[in-house]
């Protein structure tokens, strides 16, 4: 894969508030990469630096081996889908989509052809002459997409584009965006705080916190092998338990010895054990490795979510059978569902 964009040593501060410091990242051609993190983590700032709406205090933005740090937004071969769509209210659907082409002085025939092509891609051919304020949120979203891709950019930046849509529509649009990205072969750089969105659409997920990359990897990597407590907590739900590696693929926590699959620890090294709520198996008390008391339960549709008290610590467990609050429950975990993380002294989360 070819590197398309490289961010080198990017630093950016707003009024003495350092958002990014010495930030490095590269993005491949045709990649669907998602920057995910809590608000204030610097993800939107990064996107705006790539788009040319903010300039970095120091560092370079390299596009196709050329430094584009000093180019204005209108000179970059990059288009953006804005959070609130930013459609032009004084123009109708057709003129909104044609805007970029008109600025590039394309002929009327070219514009016509391209606008029709992009309207077809987003399934809104019939809306051509509609005014913007007579479109639903989902339709506006599609027009914003059409307006960007009609320019055939090499890179599309998406700033929480689905944030304003309702759940069902958001899920549909996730599929459509993914499909669009694969069909068009455009690099998508997607910013979201929604971890589920990040996991379901991306080739690569970049988890950010406080302007620092916590982990880069495929969605599977990020979910199954979080590198630290932040990632484990932010991406999905986790039970994080203090443990001790015993060597020979054995780990001890809650005064019990478990088999595990991780090996990159020395004997007696303290570690953080991550177990996802859905990875616990509910078993008869006799076979249980851990037993606890159910303190709370919530019905979630597909499963029940139980809060379980084990040795006065609270665990979250997903299970399919109903149990009553106050019941004793026995749990076990398969070795490959136990993930060990290095303990980072500086982390509080």
């Amino acid at each position: 894969m070819k590197k398309l964009i490289e961010l080198k040593n990017i630093s950016k501060a707003f009024d003495e508030n350092q958002i990014l410091e010495d930030f490095n990242l590269y993005i491949n051609e045709n990649e669907f990469i998602t920057l995910v993190g809590p608000s204030g983590c610097g993800k939107t700032t990064l996107l705006r630096i790539i788009g040319g709406f903010e300039s970095a205090d120091s560092g370079q933005v390299i596009f196709n081996n050329k430094d584009i740090s000093l180019l204005d937004a209108n000179e970059r071969p990059i288009n953006t889908i804005f959070q609130k769509y930013a459609l032009f209210p004084h123009l109708n659907v057709y003129d909104n989509i044609a805007f970029g082409l008109k600025m590039k002085k394309k002929t009327k025939e070219e514009i016509d052809e391209l606008v029709n092509w992009s309207l077809k891609l987003v399934n809104l051919e019939k809306m051509k002459t509609r005014s913007i304020d007579r479109l639903s949120g989902g339709q506006q979203q599609r027009i914003a997409i059409a307006r960007a891709i009609v320019n055939k950019p090499k890179v599309l930046l998406l700033d929480e584009p689905l944030g304003a849509l309702d759940l069902k529509l958001r899920q549909n649009m996730q599929y459509e965006l993914k499909e669009l990205q694969q069909d068009l072969g455009i690099t998508f750089i997607y910013v979201t705080h929604d971890q589920e969105e990040a996991l379901s659409m991306s080739d690569t997920v970049v988890v950010l916190n406080d302007g620092i990359i916590q982990q880069i990897g495929t969605p599977e990597d990020i979910y199954n092998e979080p590198k630290n407590r932040f990632v484990a907590n932010f991406i999905g739900e986790s039970n994080i338990i203090k443990g001790r590696y015993l060597g020979n693929k054995l780990v001890e926590f809650e005064n019990t010895i478990f088999e595990c699959v991780d090996t990159n620890f020395v004997v007696d090294e303290p570690c953080d054990v991550v177990i996802r709520p859905e990875d616990f198996d509910v078993v008869p008390l006799k076979q249980a490795k851990l037993t606890g008391i159910i303190t709370d339960k919530v019905f979630k549709g597909v499963h029940y979510e139980f809060c379980i008290d084990i040795n006065e610590k609270e665990y979250i467990v997903h299970a399919y059978e109903d149990k009553e609050i106050g019941d004793q429950i026995g749990l076990s975990v398969d070795p490959f569902e136990i993930h060990l993380m290095k303990v980072n002294e500086n982390e509080n989360t």
């Binding site: 937004a73 209108n74 804005f82 930013a86 600025m103 320019n151």
Partner: protein, 272 residues
Amino acid sequence: MKTRNISLPLYLIWLFVLVFIPFLIMLFLSFTKTRGLDFSHLVFSLDNFKDILDPIYFDAYVNSIVLSAIASLLCLLIGYPVAYILTNLKSNKLKNILLAMFILPMWSNMLLRIIGWEILFNPHSILNSIGISFDLIGSPLAIIIGMVSTYLPLMIFPIYTSLNKLESSLLEASYDLGASKFQTFKSVILPLSLPGIYSGLTMTFLPSATNFALPERLSGGNINLLGNIINSNFGKSFNYGFGSLLSVILISVIFVLVFFINRKDKDGDLLL
């Protein structure tokens, strides 16, 4: 919505009492001859309609409309850049100071400001002491300067409001789609500030066209505008019937103009 339900009829009552009824009275008076306020000698006649054919009144209409139109356009030419600069000022302090500079003069009496111009436009003015002398009284230029200086803020504020309402993401979208600064101004900023321009034009044109103190003080009796003719019919010659007819025509012209402008300014929230 609740406040609206209460205030709407109230507003209609005011409109009825203060605008509609006086208009009907003037319409009625247009068909009469009176001697001042002594309505016991009131007689119906169509003389007013004959009198109005005198070219002097037609000239007054033309003067009013042409001079106010020029003044409004000048206000636009000066006011738009000012509003644009105000909107884009980064320092709030500077912005407030500049806004105050445009608002404060409006708090002083308009007549005083006009008399100020009157003094300066005289060949023998205080300016002689620094070697400058104007002889502008009685010229259209004097009236236009008076109009522009009086009503410029009413052009700046609605444009400033509409520019302020413009979301920065729209400008970013425009740059993002490859538009240069100038293209962005032409294709996004200008069209989206049109409502402000329309209300600015209304708010400078209407009072300019109807003001009577301004031509009275600055025309030196040379130039008749509608405002001062109407004023002299009511205040000097007590010819209520004729004054009413002139007013009714003026109100009708204004009504038609405002009707067209309101169709452009759909939000209607730009008229201060």
